[in-house]
Symmetry: C2
Subunit: 494 residues, 2 copies
Amino acid sequence: MTAYKKLTEHFKKISHFNHLAAICGWDQAAMMPAGGASARSAAMAELSVHIHKLQTQDSLADWFSEAETKTLPPEDTASLREMKRQWVQANVLPEDLVHAKSMAGSKCEHAWRTQRTNNDWKGFAENWKEVVNLSQHEAQIRAEATGLSPYDAMLDIYEPGTKTEFLTPLFDDIKRWLPELIEQVIEKQSHENLLMPQGIFPATQQKALGHKVMELLQFDFNHGRLDESVHPFCGGVPQDVRLTTRYDETDFIQSLMGTVHETGHARYEQGLPESYAGLPVGEARSMGIHESQSLFFEMQVGRSPSFIHHLAEMTGKQFGKENEPAFASDNFQKLYSRVNKGFIRVDADELTYPAHVILRYEIERDLMNGKISYLDVPELWNEKMQAYLGFSTKGNFKDGCMQDIHWTDGAFGYFPSYTLGAMYAAQFMAAMKKTVDVDAAIRSGNLSPIFNWLSDKIWSKGSLLTTDELVKKATDEALNPTFFKAHLESRYLK
Amino acid sequence: MTAYKKLTEHFKKISHFNHLAAICGWDQAAMMPAGGASARSAAMAELSVHIHKLQTQDSLADWFSEAETKTLPPEDTASLREMKRQWVQANVLPEDLVHAKSMAGSKCEHAWRTQRTNNDWKGFAENWKEVVNLSQHEAQIRAEATGLSPYDAMLDIYEPGTKTEFLTPLFDDIKRWLPELIEQVIEKQSHENLLMPQGIFPATQQKALGHKVMELLQFDFNHGRLDESVHPFCGGVPQDVRLTTRYDETDFIQSLMGTVHETGHARYEQGLPESYAGLPVGEARSMGIHESQSLFFEMQVGRSPSFIHHLAEMTGKQFGKENEPAFASDNFQKLYSRVNKGFIRVDADELTYPAHVILRYEIERDLMNGKISYLDVPELWNEKMQAYLGFSTKGNFKDGCMQDIHWTDGAFGYFPSYTLGAMYAAQFMAAMKKTVDVDAAIRSGNLSPIFNWLSDKIWSKGSLLTTDELVKKATDEALNPTFFKAHLESRYLK
């Protein structure tokens, strides 16, 4: 057996164990009774150890060395590159650092759940200091291994190939026009009348509605399911995608669009190339590209007037309220494009969201590169919040730098993916519209032309191309913030 | 670390992987969409290979040799005995035999699904020949390793310590009085009027009713759930028991008592000793003892007049039919104690069930011991069926020897567990009644005295005692068919 073949067999073996982890992880969030938690944690931990052993097994180094001396067909070269990438990621950190970071992260995250409520920055900072320290150490090691700057080395975990020198100008561009645009839109919307749907919307009915919307979005129920969990997510495996949502019986608005969002993630997974199933090259390209698909569904398709029209109609019918003014298309359109400035990222709308992300990006970048200390974070947060959204967070830590879970366990480098996703999505839509009559497809209720384009350009590519290649092939140019700006102006100022 | 300690650590590690297999197995039956099947099979097969590797790893032999030279406290001695038992079971067969049997079994079972419908004995026999051959070979190897007869060595997989010399006289006893008793009961019941509940009983309502009955039976919903699957079963792990049932919207009778049955299995699992969690000694004693608990719930408690009274009341209330005569207690009692002779084991009632089991026991025993050929089976089936239940199955293979799945993949030695379970259950009830006012407990709706007895005598013992020790400690004597006979006469002739 060639070294390349040995590697593919080995990575497929790893994917079988990842399959079990994905299903049991979904079960833990969506099905497991509370009393099962400790036995499950022990089983999952054992599985992690086993997967890590497989990822770091000695023979892999030799197989990579040997495989890299051979000339391979282009797709195999890409597959080898992606296996190597995952192998390096799994092997670059010494085990005691991984363990120490995991312990410090769990401790910090656990305490944060109460500290945040109590606005207890001092208590939080005590634990967080260690998480930041260990993460800086991690970034340093990753930087040495990759030749990147420390922050870029962290970013590379989530966004392979994306660097600060690429990201900073993009985000600077957004910063130049976003605050002004937000003010204009808020002023414009202040004259609009908005009707909130009133009533009790039973979870079973919301679920039936969710199923119908997923059918419209051509989710493949032979390869996936919809269930409930406290924090909605898209899990499982490409052959069996497990999507979750949660229902508030007094308000279906969030949950309904949340389902559209998760369905975008799900269809990307369901559309990944079958011929590379179980191999890294058959996986999603990056967190940003993944988010580009969920946001394509939620923001580009889901909030378009034609889709909103379907949503309003389906919702009115489901709840027997077709004739109530709150369920009219134009009211739904207003409901789903309302802009409000606020402290909290997860509650932010499409327009203000990038401000939250850019603020975090600038802070975590400087933190990982050692330019600032963890103690500087609250003041920097306050300054940037004032500059981008006009709020002070002085002394208000719980609605400021303590609001997110990401940093509590050291996931530095993740935040940019959200706004990269939004920008990619806008650019994909602009490119798609050159050859597809998107609006007609949505109006007709048969969205296949849209999904065919996405499948052809994005889903079926897995990780065969780099992110940059993928975007250039799909849209004829590199990521360009113009499309995002044009999309926002057209949606919110027209 | 002592060898004994190394063994316990190792078996706990195996149990973590068994946990994943149990949850993913449950998911496969109760949750997974059809399209997920092939990826799941591959993942589960990989997991099986891994578990088998852990069970057969070289160092275990040395650890057992070393541990067996030491004097251990009694509970550790039992724990060592049970680890050894599982280790011997996993190591006794050469891998190529395991593989060949698994292949031949899959092939035979798969074809059987159509062959049975077509009454195609000739086609079936062609595949089955190989399964029987390989099973005889297996029995031979197991016999050599244990010093047992071939059939006893197979029986030992499911019923450790139970032998033909013990079982044959028990079953012979039953054979002496059962056919006559069946005729008497059928004659007696022929004069009874029976009302079948009519209507549509929605699955959601049946599920709600199932939950209520499980609460009455003190199922711990913090450590388990109720779901649906085509073939009801009790799966999961003791900390998180996954019980399934299925609903027929025109008939709730089977499903409701099925839930009672599975709850018996479930409470045994939930009641296993926590201090031995993850170790073989902490597992259920045998298939027969497991079945004794499900049948204790279903037959001893579930079909008692006081429990039937609760069931009738809860069911009438659930479906809003309290005042219909079909939902009266005495009609429910008749419904749940109706005796009918039939060809099919899985449809058999409490009274005729042992006839089906004894017939199979006698045939599989002689088959494994090489006294008969697989070609003799249809004729023997016909003879025994005529003798025990008065039916001819000549030429009717599909309702005769081709009706069960067990033999298609070579699970010889399993059938006796069903009737052993029924006999143990009757004996446990007789013993319990010496100190517990069972009927008063059921009537009061607080069944704790019953469950405390079971927990104390059976559940909390795991596999610390042998089956024989367990039964003697709980009931002051070895298994004695008198109790079963007395139970049947009292229920069906009084």
